[in-house]
């Protein structure tokens, strides 16, 4: 139910080590269709005992074996092997084999990040960069950081939600500024206006936006208030 679009629900995770475990479990809880690929027997066993269905034990260094797993149907390939060298090599192999897939890799230093980018990863997340960022934020603006933590971390508390404005909603056709979101205890942070482009706008950029059905709006608020609001916008009339 949390899915953004159906096609993105198919994810391959390479590596069931430190990072793979956490990500795989989280994704499974959210109802993603995940496949795990490991080349290490022990990690393979771990994955088995954690009740994952689609697990492959293959040598990721060999292109033939990678080709056998039909990776074209997957939207996202996530490389989170514990060994950095393997990760870079794997990213390179995947890019050369599957030109159109979306590859996400983890890195543990600047040099590796550069290599991964060169190898063709679409997104690289630097282990230490995000942490360093966090420390910086804790020092610089502690309250805001705690709030942001909630956005990406915990399941309760104040969080983000993306909602698509349904057909016939009372929001349809209104200007973003004219709607009093705070009445519903949620705040509009930004939106994807399908009329203009597919990219994300923050409300604070100061550009007037017209809400149309089909647009994606992003709100923050308490989790249940957000749920309520996403029900509310399906209604045609603004009752409250």
């Amino acid at each position: 139910m949390k899915g953004i679009s159906v096609s993105k629900n198919k994810v391959v995770i390479f590596g069931y080590g430190n990072h793979g475990k956490f990500i795989a479990k989280g994704l499974q809880n959210d109802g993603f269709d995940i496949t795990i690929i490991e080349s290490d027997k022990n990690f393979y066993k771990d994955a088995k005992s954690d009740n994952f269905e689609k697990i492959f034990l293959i040598d990721v260094l060999k292109d033939d074996e990678l080709k056998k797993v039909d990776l074209d149907v997957y939207e996202q390939l996530v490389c989170v092997m514990d060994d950095e060298h393997l990760n870079v090599f794997l990213t390179l192999s995947l890019r050369s084999l599957f030109k159109d897939s979306y590859i996400l890799s983890i890195s543990d230093s600047l040099n590796v990040t550069k290599k991964l980018k060169m190898a063709g990863a679409d997104k690289v997340i630097d282990l230490y960069e995000v942490s360093a960022n966090k420390i910086y934020n804790i020092l610089d603006r502690p309250v805001a950081t705690r709030l942001l933590e909630g956005f990406v971390g915990s399941q309760d508390g104040i969080t983000f939600k993306e909602m698509i404005i349904p057909e016939g909603s009372f929001l349809d056709g209104k200007m973003a500024d004219d709607v009093d979101f705070s009445k519903y205890d949620v705040l509009l942070v930004g939106m994807i206006d399908e009329e203009i482009s597919h990219s994300f706008f923050f409300v604070t950029t100061g550009i007037e936006h017209k809400l149309d059905s089909g647009d994606t709006i992003v709100c923050i608020g308490l989790k249940d208030k957000l749920e309520d609001f996403s029900e509310e916008i399906k209604k045609t009339e603004n009752k409250i």
């Binding site: 994810v11 956490f22 990500i23 230490y128 360093a132 934020n137 020092l139 983000f160 930004g190 608020g221």
Partner: protein
């Protein structure tokens, strides 16, 4: 007489006013924090410099009477007062007497005020013989007119300036450390100077017109030995020249020896001196970061250069990493943050210290956390936890914030997969991209917006999104528009950097416009 003295001491002891005055004098002389100390110091420095300038000027030119009076009486008078003040605050005479009086009463024996007075005064006498006190005293002497030779003592006023330079003290410190070597050399030097001085006197006093007294001989020995060789006195006999050859050679050897001793003493302590300098600078800055470990995380931390991180010092016990950091241009100390002495050098009482434990070892990080917390609870500790199993231990150790690089990265990857659009937004906010900044407005008690209602602050027209208020430990999300802003609230707003800056500058301090 005795009773009168005791009565006087008792009244001083009880007088609050007396104590305040004494404390004030103490602060002005010693307390770096005191606002007046700065002015006091500047005055003294000005007096010293002007006094020396007058001394130099009057060698060749006549000095007006008022300037001479200023130099001799006013400056000396101020210095005399300073001297007496220092003597006064050095110890508490009355307290010593009172303490002995109480002891005597307790033991029911006769109280002898003079013995107590003696203890106190002998302490003061001890102060009188410290180098700085002697310099102070000599600086007053030129005021005594009849002895013109005392004018030269004005130069001692320059020595008063030494109080304000730390490097001289460090230099002396280094020399004291090499006391043994330097003293040995000094004795050897004296031995050679005297023997050759006496020898030249005995051998040449008759034949050499330039050598009249023993002093001439010793003077010649020193000048020759130091390889200065003015040439006003030179040996005329063969044997005299032979002695010259000997002391010139030994002189060269000796001087190079002294130089090398001093140089090696300095290079030994150079790092320590540098570290001292860093610690001093940090303590002066009042609020700073101590970063333990120069690893990946620390490097990354410094790459987040959205705002320049100014007051920080890195510490690492690994010399190769210290070298690397120095090469990269960071302030680093080669020291072990887990030792009590290292952290205790920082002014933990008066400074806001934030300690970042960023080493790759949990054992090390926990130890540093405990060490910091044992020195002062005030030190804020942000610790890196490498193994999630150790998380609780860090909380027990008292870390204020903990952070697991693995977990943070995992969450980010997870968000990137599940909410790709959001990931961009969150990432933009986290990294403080200019379009979307979440920032805090800290409302201090005299802030312009205290007492305003939320609806009065037109966030919308400032292009800001108001998210909520942090009040104490509570976070109020989207408070009603009638909510009144209280002092010490932290307002959380989102928006472009320029909007935030503008909003802040608009409301900063305009106390009068209250609704």
């Amino acid at each position: 007489m005795r009773d009168k003295l005791l009565l006087l001491v008792l009244s001083l002891h009880r007088s609050q006013k007396y104590k305040t005055y004494k404390q004030f004098a103490r602060n002005i002389l010693f307390d770096e924090e005191n606002v007046y100390k700065r002015y006091f110091d500047l005055t003294i420095i000005f007096l010293v410099i002007s006094s020396v300038m007058i001394l130099v000027y009057e060698v060749k030119y006549p000095v007006p009477q008022w300037l001479d009076n200023y130099d001799i009486y006013f400056v000396s008078f101020v210095f005399a007062i300073e001297y007496l003040l220092r003597l006064w605050v050095y110890n508490d005479l009355s307290e010593i007497i009172i303490a002995e009086y109480n002891d005597a009463r307790f033991l029911q024996k006769d109280f002898n005020i003079y013995s107590a007075l003696k203890t106190g005064l002998s302490q003061k006498l001890k102060y009188v013989f410290t180098p700085s006190a002697i310099v102070d005293l000599l600086a007053i002497l030129p005021a005594y007119r009849p002895l013109r030779i005392l004018r030269v003592f004005i130069l001692f006023r320059v020595f008063k300036l030494l109080r304000y330079t730390k490097s001289i003290n460090q230099f002396i410190d280094v020399l004291v450390n090499k006391k043994f070597e330097l003293l040995t050399l000094l004795f050897l030097l004296l031995f050679i100077v005297f023997t050759s001085g006496i020898a030249i006197y005995i051998l040449e006093a008759e034949k050499n017109v330039n050598i009249d007294t023993l002093f001439d001989g010793i003077y010649w020995a020193v000048v020759t030995m130091a390889t200065v060789g003015y040439g006003d006195i030179s040996p005329v006999t063969d044997i005299g020249r032979a002695i010259s050859i000997l002391i010139i050679i030994s002189g060269i050897a000796m001087i190079s020896f002294v130089t090398s001793v001093i140089v090696s003493a300095f290079s030994e302590r150079l790092n320590e001196l540098k570290d001292n300098r860093i610690v001093e600078q940090m303590n002066k800055s009042r609020s700073f970061l101590i970063i333990c470990g120069y690893g990946q995380l620390t490097k990354m931390f410094f790459r987040q250069n959205r705002k320049h991180i100014e007051n920080y010092v890195i510490m690492d016990s690994d010399i190769s990493r210290v070298e690397a950091a120095k090469k990269d241009g960071y302030t680093i100390m080669h020291d072990n943050a887990s030792s009590f002495e290292t952290l205790n050098r920082f002014d933990t009482k008066n400074c806001d210290i934030t300690l970042l434990c960023m080493t790759a070892s949990d054992v090390e990080n926990i130890y540093i956390t405990l060490n910091a917390k044992s020195i002062s609870r005030k030190i804020k500790v942000i610790a890196r936890v490498n193994d999630p199993l150790n998380f609780d231990k860090f909380n027990y150790a008292g870390a204020d914030e903990t952070l697991m690089p693995g977990k943070v990265a995992n969450t980010m990857i997870y968000t990137a997969i599940t909410q790709p659009t959001m990931y961009k937004a969150v990432h933009a906010i986290l990294t403080g991209k200019s379009i979307a900044n979440i920032d805090e407005i800290h409302v201090h008690h005299s802030h312009g917006i205290v007492g305003f209602q939320i609806k009065d602050l037109d966030f919308k027209s400032s292009k800001l999104l108001f998210i909520g208020i942090q009040r104490g430990d509570e976070f109020i999300f989207n408070p009603p528009s009638s909510e009144v802003i209280q002092p010490y609230d932290i307002l959380l707003v989102m928006g472009r950097k320029i909007s935030l800056e503008y909003f802040k500058s608009m409301h900063e301090g305009n106390i009068s416009v209250k609704k």
